[in-house]
């Protein structure tokens, strides 16, 4: 498990608008929250 206090590995994912966002793009600008869920209409 990724542990709090450790450096996050760089990655790139699509945001809710379909834009590819790399973690490096956010450095020094924004905090990031990754929320994974398996499917729509399943519990949060």
């Amino acid at each position: 498990m990724i542990k709090p206090g450790t450096e996050a590995p760089d990655f790139a994912l699509n945001d809710h608008f379909g834009r590819t966002i790399a973690l490096a793009d956010l450095r020094g600008r924004k905090h990031a929250m990754l929320v994974f869920y398996p499917l729509d209409f399943t519990p949060t």
Binding site: G5, F17, L23, G28, M33, F36, T44
Partner: protein, 143 residues
């Protein structure tokens, strides 16, 4: 991601310095406590001691651009969700043709039909909600 211990409904918060500040995962039978996650995110943001560079200024929206929507329309709802998420409230005029006969007349005059949603930008109409959202993101979103 499973190699990193992230299964279903994982939540990870990374601060602007690139440090993981929160990581949790619940299995298929569990539920994420979103109120607790939001509280944790707010705590992490408040505790961050680095400086945050401001966003670059959003590009100007062309004069005369208008977004036409209508009531009881899932496509209009999707477009309005993007409008809200992009914080375009005071930058792009929205006209609900279900509630504005003048707006409907304007839409018909501009596009030759009353189909909404419709984004008119640079004098060109876009009717497909996905195309409208993509255009709003490309043309109007902060970098």
């Amino acid at each position: 991601m499973s190699k990193l211990g992230i299964t279903d409904r994982a939540t990870v918060i990374i601060d602007a310095g690139g440090v993981v500040r929160y990581a949790a995962s619940v299995g298929p039978s569990g539920e994420r406590d979103m109120a607790a996650v939001v509280a944790e995110a707010e705590r992490i943001a408040a505790a961050y001691d680095g400086e945050l560079r401001p966003d670059e200024a959003a590009p100007p929206i062309p004069a005369g651009a208008r977004l036409f929507v209508k009531n009881n329309c899932g496509f209009s709802t999707a477009v309005l969700a993007a409008f809200d998420n992009l914080h375009l409230g005071d930058r792009l005029q929205v006209i609900n043709v279900s509630e504005s006969p003048d707006g409907l007349a304007e839409l018909e005059a501009l596009t030759g039909k009353g189909q909404a949603p419709c984004l008119v930008i640079d004098g060109e109409p876009l009717h497909e909600s996905k195309a409208i959202i993509a255009c709003l993101v490309e043309r109007c979103a902060p970098c």
